[in-house]
Amino acid sequence: MSLDLNILWFILVGVLILGWSVMDGFDYGVGGLLGFIAKNDSERRYVINSIGPVWEGNQVWLVLGGGAVFAAFPLVYASVFSGFYLAFMLVLWLIIFRAISFEFRSRVSSTSWRGFWDASITVTGLGLSLLFGVALANIIMGIPLNAQHVDYQSLFSLLNIFAIVGGLVSLSMFMMHGSAYLVMRAEGEIQERARSFALAFGYAFVVFTVVFLLISPVFAPRLLGNSFGIAGDIVPVIMLIGGAGVILTAKSRSEFLPFIFSVIGIIGAVISIAASLFPDLVPSSINQGYSLNIYNAASNPHTLFVMLIAVLFGLPLVLIYLFYAYIKFGLKVKMDDSSY
């Protein structure tokens, strides 16, 4: 198999999903932790400001990912979002509330006002982390695409055991990631608490991942039986290495390594999913022939080529902007009069 435009686009979409889960992932994690890790308003402000200047930029990965799938694999965009209609609406509402919570929270100082938005940041962070895994687990299982690649199913059929375990994997993964991020960026008591959360979610992530892999032959045989043979079976191990690394380095009181290992765990998760799907994008549970793959779902070569050029120029720019924003705000959180 030669490296063609379609395969390149498969890899690129994977890279965008990775960018999203690594960078928006710790925003979800920090958000989900907010209700548990901070004891008073000034601590909560401190936690929020650890992602304050960057969450808005990080969130664009999702928009870019959606746009890229639309441009490169329009049939996937059409089938998945209409097939997961209400689930996806729920995601959109969570995103709306999450975004406004950060901005609105600091505008009024009353306890009930701030309590409401803090709860909203916590719930949306937890919800988005959970739904990420629920959605991807369903896709690995295959969804009932018919010959026209249309999927008629209800919201409740998305909530099967495998998908729920998948949701717990991603929930613990993003919570672990958010905790590890706070270990890196916070100081003092918040950092101490973040370290114990990183440890706890590290264990949870390893346990849920093992369960997920063990039950996968029943629900989604392609996860451990993908088209890459033995090499493909080893990939999920990267997830476990990441999780174990977070546990060990959090114990050894390192400030950076838990975050690095958490990123490794996420990379393992994204590559595992990608490897199990390839060359399909959305397998059909009715008939393998109805599946959407990187050829029958793709745009024409001209579009793929133009968009490839666009990404080759645009993605480095994006990374420069993000890098600039991150270094300007320093490693450790500092509050000033323009903070949230």
Binding site: G57, V63, A78, G83, Y85, I100, V108
Partner: protein, 472 residues
């Protein structure tokens, strides 16, 4: 496709797009004005411009975040509600959306964080650069979103593939489709117009309470000068845009002007009560020959009416459209006409304000300051009416000549699902609108009661500034 599902999908998209567009124009308009305010501060080092920038930036932030949150919905709604549309034109339509994320939205969103929270982190010059990059990002977003929309108005740069699905053949022809530049300039200038009216209105609100407020006096001057330029420019562009419609979308023009039958010396109808059933206008007032003149620079030119424009489109695209498939003409007619009348009102109001400003009488005229405050949000109405005109006027097409809206709907989403999610959107959006207005008015009142724009602390600053002003 049943009519109810089509209505529901349209209704949901209409509500969510209508609400989303409350916000991006101010992001564009006020974003550009922030660059001007902060730029004056950077070069003059006068503190009142820093105060002005910091205050308007707090208002900007509320608007920005709600706009982004409501905009993400639209990015995915093509997939959720319009899956047949997405599958049919995705090979072309998806690209501008992806490019928007890559080249515009990232820049805008990263630098909005740096701009809002980075006052203590960056040098004065570097902070201004962040404000500039944020302000460039939003019109750049508009470029790609309007590439996508204008392509739906005047599709170009494609051919029909073997499977009957259009594929992109020339990327730059997709981008520079015939309607793109008109639409982009019309929308961006309209957004600047709203930004300037908003700033003038807010400044006027403070000056009514205290006309010695030096920060707001200077803000009003900047805003009025900006508003005059864009309001006059917008009239020229509005005319150019309408002439683009004449060439490319004859059915839309006929509905905008409520012209039922083709005629020479076609009138520019000013007031009418268009009725689709009888295909007539009832009692109406118009200027004979003016529409022919505006459309073709020739008062005797023949302008295509509603009936013959449908025949023309059917013949050109090999379709069988009937008049009953078209929207109520009165909606398109009045959306377009009220927008146009507002456009003239904006120019006249700001010319008067400018004359008063130069004569030094603007601050004394409470009446005019009140009118400016009450007009602060009117450009938003004009912008929304413009979208009504262009989107409803394009019906029954989703992509003009290529795809009807009826053939765009997701077949696998039930009516109940759309009803439930629409109700939820309405509830959330009412709450968001209320919160945004509440926070906006709170910022305004707190400033009156002496909240410092820079430290955010309530101080006795107002008296101090007033004192300084009296001395000078």
């Amino acid at each position: 496709m049943n009519g109810l599902a089509l209505f529901l999908a349209r209704f949901q998209f209409g509500i969510t797009a209508f609400f989303h567009f409350f916000f991006p124009p101010l992001t564009i308009g006020l974003g550009t004005l922030l660059v001007i305010m902060e730029g004056i501060y950077v070069f003059s080092k006068k503190e009142e411009y820093l105060r002005m920038t910091r205050f308007f930036m707090r208002l900007f932030a509320i608007n920005f975040v709600v706009g982004v949150a409501a905009g993400i919905v639209l990015e995915f709604e093509f997939g959720t509600n319009w899956s047949q549309y997405s599958a049919y034109v995705g090979k072309i339509f998806g690209s501008p959306l992806a490019i928007e994320g890559l080249f515009a939205f990232f820049m805008e969103s990263v630098f909005v964080g740096v701009m809002l929270l980075g006052w203590k982190r960056l040098s004065t010059g570097a902070h201004w650069v962040s404000t500039i990059l944020n302000a460039l990002g939003s019109p750049l977003s508009a470029v790609w979103i309007l590439v996508a929309n204008s392509w739906m108005q005047t599709p170009a740069g494609y051919s029909i593939g073997k499977d009957g699905i259009p594929i992109m053949t020339h990327f730059w022809r997709v981008v520079f489709n015939p309607y793109f530049l008109y639409e982009f300039l019309h929308v961006v200038i309209g957004s600047w117009e709203y930004g300037a009216f908003f700033m003038a209105g807010v400044a006027a609100w403070f000056l009514i309470k205290n006309n010695k407020d030096i920060v707001m006096r200077k803000a009003l001057t900047i805003a009025v000068i900006a508003a005059v330029m864009v309001a006059v420019g917008q009239i020229v562009l509005g005319d150019l845009s309408a002439r683009g419609v004449v060439r490319y979308q004859p059915t839309k023009l006929a509905m905008m002007e409520a012209l039922w039958h083709s005629q020479k010396y076609a009138p520019e109808t000013l007031v009418a009560f268009p009725n689709n059933k009888t295909q007539s206008n009832g009692p109406s007032v118009g200027i004979p020959g003016a529409l022919s003149m505006l459309s073709y620079m020739n008062p005797s030119a023949r302008v295509m009416g509603f009936d013959s424009s449908i025949k023309y489109v059917n013949q050109k695209y090999d379709l069988k459209l009937t008049p009953s498939m078209f929207p109520p003409v009165w909606i398109v007619f009045w959306s377009f006409h009220i927008m146009m009348y507002l456009g003239f009102y904006f120019a006249v109001l700001m010319i008067i304000a400018l004359i008063f400003l130069f004569n030094g009488k603007l601050l004394e005229s409470r009446k005019l300051l009140n009118v400016l405050w009450y007009s602060a949000f009117l450009p938003l109405l004009a912008l929304e009416l413009g979208w009504f005109t262009t989107e409803i006027g394009r019906q029954p097409f989703a992509v003009y000549g290529l795809l009807t809206t009826a053939n765009s709907v997701s077949p696998n989403v039930s009516d109940l699902e759309v009803v439930l999610s629409t109700l939820m959107f309405i509830l959330i959006y009412i709450a968001l609108a209320w919160l945004a207005i509440f926070l906006f008015m709170k910022e305004m009142r707190e400033r009156v009661s002496g909240k410092d724009e820079i430290s955010g602390v309530i101080t006795a600053r107002n008296e101090a500034v007033t004192g300084k002003e009296v001395q000078s």
